[in-house]
């Protein structure tokens, strides 16, 4: 079965030279011979190892930092604190004008999640860096912490991030991203049944086999080469340029094969501080997460809560859908304001519903900052929506696949966020799924098309 031939023959060209052909992967020979160069496969004479002293508390004020004992430890070359970072407060999406800057490279006066970077130790060996890190003394005043999104949004909740001033991201549209389409209350009034359900998920770690890291080499001309496994090369270069107050022309980023990313390597965490270390010591520096850091420190997929209220008719039409989505950004924004926004556009699902109301909130809590992961902002929403679709079908006693045919969006339908549908293939996909899974539906559904007559 090839959809492109059966359903879309007039839209697709055959005679392609590469697509549809079996081709060897270009990188495979290197992989099987163990010759592919990952960033950490480079070793440089005199390379220093960077280890981070991290917050043991979820939320605390830093009263004082004493690095004197650590500085005297054999093998220690340099110790960095917030005052060493030229532009310490940053946010990665500032590159696309999503502010304010809300995160510190090294904690300054306060920590907002357990594991936050406080002091960077650079030493001749990994062991010396670990030993010295254990000698850094940080005096904390522990503050009340909040871990639940609804708790965080209540009046009187501990303020997680002063750069925002409230525990949610303030969009230009206000406290949440909003989609308004039709009249949702009129839809509910007209509906035969109403079903309101809430769905929630935990953070998910990508757990790539290769941990996050970079190796930085000073080139002697005030220029630095950064070998990194970032999934976002120029994004990282530009943010490093801001944090280090160094023109991008001084930074040479070298990427290459990444040992698994899944979205977990798009944050800008290891590179700026490693470049700073290389600049201040004049030595090559490597900063590679341990497995424990990869699991506990790197951003996970955000925890989400999705509340869906639907009005449905006995004949199977969904006439109103109201969704409130909450995305747990953790203590800092990273990519989460964008993830929550994606959810707002996505939430009606691939269904045409005449009356839609959506609010999505990006919420700050004292949890590990979340960020990108495979379809972030929409994947958990899809889980919630499709479980909800099954529940609705059961409620009105209809086959769940036929119920989806009735509501499937088709070319020309106006989506809730006011973009017309084009290139929809949901009907055809479900027809094929019906055959492949031996889940028959009524003939009228098998005769449907994503193209509307006369469109």
């Amino acid at each position: 079965m090839e959809l492109r031939k059966s359903y879309f023959a007039d839209q697709r060209k055959d005679g392609l030279h590469e697509i549809g052909q079996g081709r060897p992967r270009l990188d495979s020979p290197g992989h099987v011979m163990g010759k592919t160069a990952y960033f950490a496969d480079r070793n440089f004479p005199g390379m220093l190892h960077l280890k981070m002293v991290r917050s043991p508390h979820h939320h605390a004020r830093i009263r004082s930092i004493d690095t004197s004992e650590a500085e005297k430890h054999p093998g220690v070359v340099k110790i960095l604190t917030a005052k060493d970072v030229p532009h310490n407060v940053y946010t990665i999406l500032i590159l696309i004008q999503i502010g304010p800057e809300d995160e510190t490279v090294l904690a300054d006066g306060k920590v907002r999640w357990k594991g936050e970077a406080v002091v960077a130790v650079l030493a001749e060996t990994e062991r010396a860096a670990q030993e010295a890190a254990a000698k850094v003394k940080v005096n904390y005043e522990v503050l009340p912490a909040v871990f639940d999104m609804e708790e965080a949004l209540k009046p009187g909740a501990p303020l997680v991030n002063e750069y925002h001033g409230q525990n949610y991201y303030l969009y230009d549209s206000g406290e949440c991203r909003k989609v308004r389409f039709g009249d949702v209350e009129a839809g509910f009034a007209e509906a035969d049944h109403i079903l309101e359900q809430s769905y929630q998920s935990s953070p998910i770690e990508h757990a790539p086999t290769e941990t996050t890291g970079c190796v930085v080499v000073p080139e002697g001309n005030d220029r630095f080469t950064c070998y990194t496994n970032t999934q976002a090369m120029f994004f990282t270069l530009d943010n490093a340029s801001i944090i280090l107050q160094m023109p991008g022309s001084k930074l040479h980023f070298v990427g290459g094969t990444v040992g698994g990313g899944f979205g977990g390597k798009v944050d800008v965490i290891v590179e700026p501080i490693a470049i700073l270390g290389a600049k201040l010591t004049g030595r090559p520096v490597c900063f590679i997460y341990s497995r424990e850091e990869e699991m506990q420190i790197s951003s996970p997929r955000a925890a989400e809560k999705v509340v869906i209220k639907d009005g449905v008719m006995k004949d199977g039409r969904i006439v109103a859908r109201k969704v409130t989505g909450y995305t747990d950004a953790g203590a800092y924004s990273r990519h989460s304001p964008y993830g929550a926004q994606k959810g707002a556009a996505h939430y009606p699902g691939p269904y045409t519903i005449p009356n839609v109301w959506i609010d999505t909130y990006c919420v700050y809590t004292n949890r590990t900052p979340s960020s990108a992961m495979r379809g972030f902002g929409v994947t958990i929403g899809d889980f919630a929506l499709e479980v909800q679709m099954d529940k609705l079908a059961r409620l009105i006693g209809m086959d769940p696949l036929e119920f989806r045919f009735i509501n499937a969006y088709r070319d020309g339908d106006m989506k809730a966020h006011h973009q017309p549908t084009e290139g929809a293939a949901l009907i055809e996909c479900m027809q094929e799924a019906s055959r492949a899974a031996n889940w028959p539906v009524a003939e009228k559904y098998m005769a449907m098309s994503s193209y509307k007559k006369g469109a």
């Binding site: 280890k51 054999p74 060996t125 062991r127 010396a128 670990q130 030993e131 890190a133 254990a134 341990s290 497995r291 424990e292």
Partner: protein, 264 residues
């Protein structure tokens, strides 16, 4: 300060060197090198011994004596240790089994230490230069132990009287939700005459399910016969909570898995 490794030909010399503070014994490396890799700077020095007795497996008169450096792989492939091979194969993947030792398994914190669960059900004796201890006593005091384990010895069970089950979410190699080892003797009429049941992950180290053992005596291995044992299986347990399972979950599923083990 770099780690220093000292190698001694005899256990006695290694024991002497082990007295220095910050020193740990290096067996297969799966516990101590893992700790130093993760930044445990309290370990400053490692000691090992190449004493051949540590690598010996001796079987005579229905008794087995296994040197502390014997690996899980060596146990799994030994022709006369077939009855407990399943338990040795339950530890780690192939590479771990080529490294992990019997001695090390006695010190592995839950959820690890599945082979020590077996040794506990076999009522093994642990031998060090300080003397011999029943394994139950040894495990209870293991945090204060400062002598290298030389060997473990136990009466070899018949294949039909020893049962082992490791429950994991990933197969074939996964970390334990829990593990159960049972050494059961049955009279001619099928009634249980003696029972030793050991549990892994139901406390911070392997433990005996004494109430369940008692409840099995005189009973047959059928649904009714084991009911009292299953009902009391959780007595005295305090299961661990870790990323694999919560204490609540482990407590809930223990009787289910014990039942499956006893009825197969």
């Amino acid at each position: 300060m770099a780690l220093a490794l000292q190698t001694f030909p005899t256990v006695r010399d290694a024991n002497a060197a082990l007295k220095a503070s910050g020193t740990r014994y290096l067996g297969g490396g799966t516990l101590v090198v893992r700790a130093t890799n993760e930044g445990d700077v309290s370990v400053t020095s490692l000691v090992r011994s190449t004493d051949p007795s540590l690598s010996a497996i001796e079987i005579a008169g229905g008794k087995a004596r296994i040197g502390a450096s014997v690996t899980m792989a060596a146990i799994a492939r030994h022709p006369q240790l077939g009855a407990i091979a399943k338990a040795a194969r339950a530890v780690g993947g192939p590479a771990i089994r080529n490294m992990a030792t019997v001695g090390g398994n006695l010190f592995a914190p839950a959820p690890y230490g599945d082979f020590a669960v077996t040794l506990l059900a076999l009522d093994a004796t642990v031998s060090t230069d300080d003397g011999e201890l029943p394994i139950g006593d040894f495990l209870a005091k293991r945090d204060d132990n400062h002598a290298i384990v030389n060997s473990v010895s136990f009466a070899l069970p018949k294949a039909e009287s020893f049962r082992f089950l490791k429950v994991s979410r990933v197969k074939p190699k996964g970390v334990s939700v829990l593990s159960i080892a049972a050494a059961l003797e049955q009279a001619g009429d099928g009634a249980i005459s003696s029972a030793r049941i050991a549990l892994g992950c139901m406390a911070d180290r392997p433990m005996r399910a004494r109430a369940a053992e008692k409840a099995l005596i005189g009973k047959r291995l059928d649904r009714d016969g084991i009911a009292a044992a299953l009902a009391s299986a959780g007595e005295g347990t305090s299961p661990i909570t870790d990323p694999i399972a919560s204490a609540w979950y482990r407590a809930e599923v223990l009787p289910v898995h014990l039942g499956r083990l006893l009825l197969t």
